[in-house]
Symmetry: C2
Subunit: 654 residues, 2 copies
């Protein structure tokens, strides 16, 4: 999308859009643009920035303060070096890119349009904008209420004060078309185009889709075993011992193998050994002015003790209260269930048979609604806890949401399994919960936003070209940018991982009771790939790429779930009539054996975690070779310098 | 110990001794010395080396091939830079030492005799010797059977071929006298002089003594609680519930706090953030010639698959066989115990009362002997597994020895506690095992070697100065060196940690049954400090310092033990009559509750491990400040360079 100058379009490839509030003062805008354009030596970013012209059918209410940001090729390369981006070297290894060495990188062609992917260019520009720091200004010119602190990020300050409404990267029509065709437009039996996804959306997204694919394939053996179980042992619930044992080994092994798989991907994408940049405070973070003990710069500080008080005295009780509420709702469900069953038993007709399913479906819907409401509450609370770093915010949010969702979704199943010990009801509840939540999720996640988006699009397109169909539109840049600015913002992979986490729970905890669960999850995952792909390409604003090296806190969450799965499966095995038959005289013996075996399995699981290396051998070798080479080079340089100093001294003394 | 030239003593401070085989050819010696003396530019080490003169009372059988190695002050400083040694900076932070910046380090005085400790100087010299690499020689001159590979360590090659008998650092009489006075010569109630120990023996040793001290202090509350228990509830075994609960929390908390304590020490000593040097292959490693995939150099390679076969097909079955044997011995012990009891019961006299203790004492002695024999077997096997790196060798050895020792020492106790459920016998066995093994250990570890050493010393001293006492001897250097060369080699902290590990096991697993255990261990630890200090200062050769940042694999071992302690204590609580009284009707209920609480405690333990940060806050801040500063400096440098290039271009275009 290289654009020639003239008729309101910029003279450079626009990559990122800055939208300022429409009532921002001219003085502030001029100052911001000049700071962005200023040389790095003077503390600027040396990026290119231009105002976006009015749309083809400009209206009064259109925001005029939209700015396109781009960069020269040179600037992008030096930005890549600042970021320590890893690219493929001539010898096939991944190395940190440096401008001095650029011709030794594999795909570097000089002009380099294909060397950095669009996602990388956008990420570089975002990073440069983020690290545009206040110099000696005490406030934004023309806006005395927006204070600035020397050395702190200007963009984050403007974002948290609402002057800057949003910063987002632009879609690339052509590339997007190619990607979406390869990804979800053709029905095929093949892997996802992970490399293309990574090129367009960055490593974080690609890792999510890689994990989704891996998880689906890992479920296939379980689904294959599950089908005959379901077909031939329809009502024979005591046959699940073998299935439970399989389950147990399965969930340990796939998580260990995923770590290896993930580090292979991260190595190929150059994020495995990249050093993380220093984290800036979150945009919403506030506090009393003080000195940062690390950087020595003046910035708002918020005492950790105060945050801990908020976490333990407000958030924790709130979460516990929510858990109690969820328990209460569960009890109501069991009352309804009992009532429906009693009606059905008293006078069984077709309609009472359906009535029996209604409490479960209702409960599943209520669970989803509670999860949704709780999610907002958790976000509000975590925001209020005022975490300084995005990572700490994310960890607290994930923990809150995980605990509640886990409890909300699985409490009733645990109650049925271990307190009521009713395997028929367990199977039925599991099936209803799983199917209902899958249908609801797919609807809420992709089709509802798409439908809303489509209505908005159509309105705008209709205004400009009347009569043409939506698909083959080539909107003018100004309209295209405004269209994208109106799209919903993609909030990261949080919800997607959460959904997978709950599905993993259903399969690993209880699938021995309902062997079709794995089949259902496989089917769901296949449609999930399509709906997620569709949602990424058509529904949401393009997100900035996120150079992730692994799936982060989710690995931990899945591992915790697999530990719980070991305990649950062992208990289910211990409760099965088959096993009970071995200990006809003494329940105590049975329990002691079950507990002993469970402890053994847990120990084995931990040993396995230690024994299987997280990074495949050949990648370890590559990494240590790079380190070795850089050390040798450094040493040689030092010895050479020392010997030159000696020579110089000798010459001097002569 | 700065020595003037003349009468056979070298003109530099001797730091390290190389002892070559007495029949080494002159040609090989000349070559080795010239390689050591050669400049770094030519691939040498630039160290000073001289032959040790004959002793004051030279004998025929004396080995003439002893060499003293030292270095100029300049060379030591550049070596410290190569090693990335961390020293205290002017502002109190710890930074990697660089020669360019030397005047900004706190204790640097110019001549710097006190800047690097003697342990550091010796470590630097050892590192330089170790990294003396073969150039284009294919074998050692004069010794065609000793092949050399370009780029591989010469010293390690000579060591594994037996040409080089040993490399050891020299004691420093004056310093040693001061240290031993502060450490163990006065009876006092104070902390150990950890800083001095670190100065003289290095960080690895100092961390061990730090841990010993920490562990002793951590035991004090338990000992204080234990005494009244022992005094007032002499035969009331069902009162141990509270004690067991305390035990459980205690062992989790002290291990977490030790991590923080250890990283504080390591930060103060500059080993926390030091980068590890590349590990050279172990001296004994052998294999078929090939190319190292990391360095690209030619060296012996040994296929990993072959090693795995040896581990799983030979070592593992051997360990299992030993465990079986240990079980067998245990059963014999129980037979003897039963026989002794029956004799005592039939006709109780004073002598039969003593007879009852004999099986336990015998068993404790047999356990110690089996541990000792197994230790040799494990070393032999691990050597035969042919590990390439010392760290991998150590891990396999530690694992083998730990599993066996744990089993050997605790199997009988577990059997008594959970199978026989005989708390009286448990208490008696525990006491006997603990006391016997402590006495044996202290004897074997310090006094036996000391006695042997003393005999040898006396012989030599008597030869030279007749009539004087041993203490105030000032032997000539040559004799002193030969005396030290004959001392036993200290084999690292392995055995010391192992002993602490077993003591920790006795206390954390079963002390609720025998509350005096903690008291006994505290007493043992206090004498242990003295005997270990004595053994380090007087019995063994001075060891090379080992810049450890933590206690390594032992942290893991202690944590594993604390998990086992949770399980054991929960079971002991569940078995106590006190708790059983709460569930008069149903054993099943009791067991289920015990298991549930145990799982809860284990989960809590893991959450605690996550919640307590391993590194104290202020050290984290210091570390990130250093990283921040180095990044900022790098960035500034780059921007300056770039702007200069731009200026130069502008000038050029003018």
């Amino acid at each position: 999308m290289m654009l020639s100058a003239g008729n309101g379009v910029p003279s450079f490839t626009p990559r990122v859009v800055l939208e300022l509030a429409s009532d921002t003062k001219e003085e502030a805008i001029t100052w911001l643009l000049s700071r962005i354009r200023d040389t790095q030596y003077n503390g600027g970013t040396e990026l290119l920035v231009e105002q976006l012209g009015p749309g083809a059918d400009a209206q009064e209410k259109e925001n005029p303060n939209m700015f396109l940001v781009g960069a020269t090729w040179q600037r992008l390369l030096s930005g890549a070096e600042d970021l320590g981006l890893f690219k493929e070297f001539n010898d096939g290894s991944m190395r940190a890119f440096t401008c001095a060495n650029k011709y030794n990188f594999k795909d570097f062609k000089g002009d380099g349009d294909s060397f950095l992917s669009t996602a990388e260019c956008q990420y570089i520009i975002k990073h440069e904008l983020d690290t545009l720091r206040a110099k000696d200004e005490t406030h934004v010119p023309g806006l005395s209420r927006v204070k600035l602190y020397p050395g702190k990020s200007v963009i984050r300050r403007l974002l948290s004060k609402g002057i800057l409404i949003q910063v987002f990267p632009l879609h690339e029509k052509e590339e997007l078309k190619r990607l979406s065709f390869a990804w979800y437009k053709k029905v095929k039996l093949s892997f996802q185009p992970l490399e293309d996804i990574r090129h367009y959306y960055g490593e974080g997204q690609a890792l999510y889709f890689g994990f989704l694919e891996y998880f689906t394939f890992a479920l296939v053996p379980m689904a294959l075993i599950g089908v005959p179980y379901y077909l031939f042992d329809w009502e024979d619930y005591d046959k699940y011992v073998i299935f439970a044992s399989f389950n147990l080994v399965w969930c340990t092994v796939i998580l260990e193998l995923w770590k290896r798989c993930s580090s292979s991907l991260a190595y190929r994408w150059g994020t495995l050994s990249r050093k993380k940049a220093f984290e800036e405070p979150r945009p919403g973070f506030h506090g009393v002015l003080g000195f940062n003990p690390v950087t020595g710069r003046q910035e708002p500080l918020y005492p950790n003790a105060k945050r801990q008080l908020r976490v333990y005295l407000v958030s924790l009780p709130f979460v516990l209260l929510c858990l109690y509420l969820s328990l209460y709702v569960m009890m109501i469900y069991f009352l309804m269930e009992g009532w429906a069953l009693s009606v059905h038993d008293a006078e069984p007709t077709f309609w009472t048979g359906i009535l029996c399913f209604i409490p479960s479906v209702l409960y599943a819907v209520v669970i989803e609604i509670m999860n949704l409401i709780y999610r907002y509450a958790a976000e509000f609370l975590t925001e209020w806890e005022n975490h300084r770093l995005e990572s700490s915010y994310q960890n607290h949010l994930v923990l809150k949401v995980l605990v509640f969702n886990f409890f909300n979704c699985f409490a009733s199943l645990f109650y049925i399994a271990f307190v009521m010990q009713d395997m028929v009801l367990l199977r039925q509840s599991l099936a209803t919960l799983l199917i209902t939540s899958q249908i609801l999720n797919q609807l809420m996640e992709a089709f509802l936003p798409y439908w809303l988006q489509r209505r908005r699009n159509k309105k705008m397109v209709r205004k400009i070209h009347k009569g043409k169909t939506l698909e083959d539109q080539e909107l003018p840049l100004a309209n295209q940018v405004r269209l994208e600015a109106d799209m919903s913002t993609y909030l990261g992979t949080f919800d997607d991982y959460l959904e997978l986490f709950l599905l993993f729970g259903y399969v690993s905890l209880f699938s021995c009771v309902y062997p079709l669960a794995a089949v259902l999850v496989v089917l769901n995952n296949i449609t999930e790939v399509y709906s997620d792909a569709f949602k990424m390409c058509r529904v949401f604003k393009r997100p900035f790429s996120d150079p992730a090296a692994n799936i982060g806190v989710w690995q931990l969450a899945f591992e915790a779930m697999s530990v719980i799965a070991v305990v649950t499966n062992c208990s289910l095995i211990g409760m099965s009539p088959q096993v009970k038959a071995y200990f006809p005289d003494s329940d105590m013996q049975l329990i002691l054996w079950t507990v002993a075996i469970e402890h053994g399995l847990l120990a084995f699981k931990f040993i396995l975690t230690f024994l299987i290396p997280d990074v495949p051998k050949h990648i370890q070798i590559n990494l240590s070779r790079l380190e070795f080479e850089s050390r040798e080079a450094l040493k040689k340089k030092k010895i050479l310098e020392a010997s030159e100093v000696t020579k110089a001294r000798r010459l001097g003394s002569l």
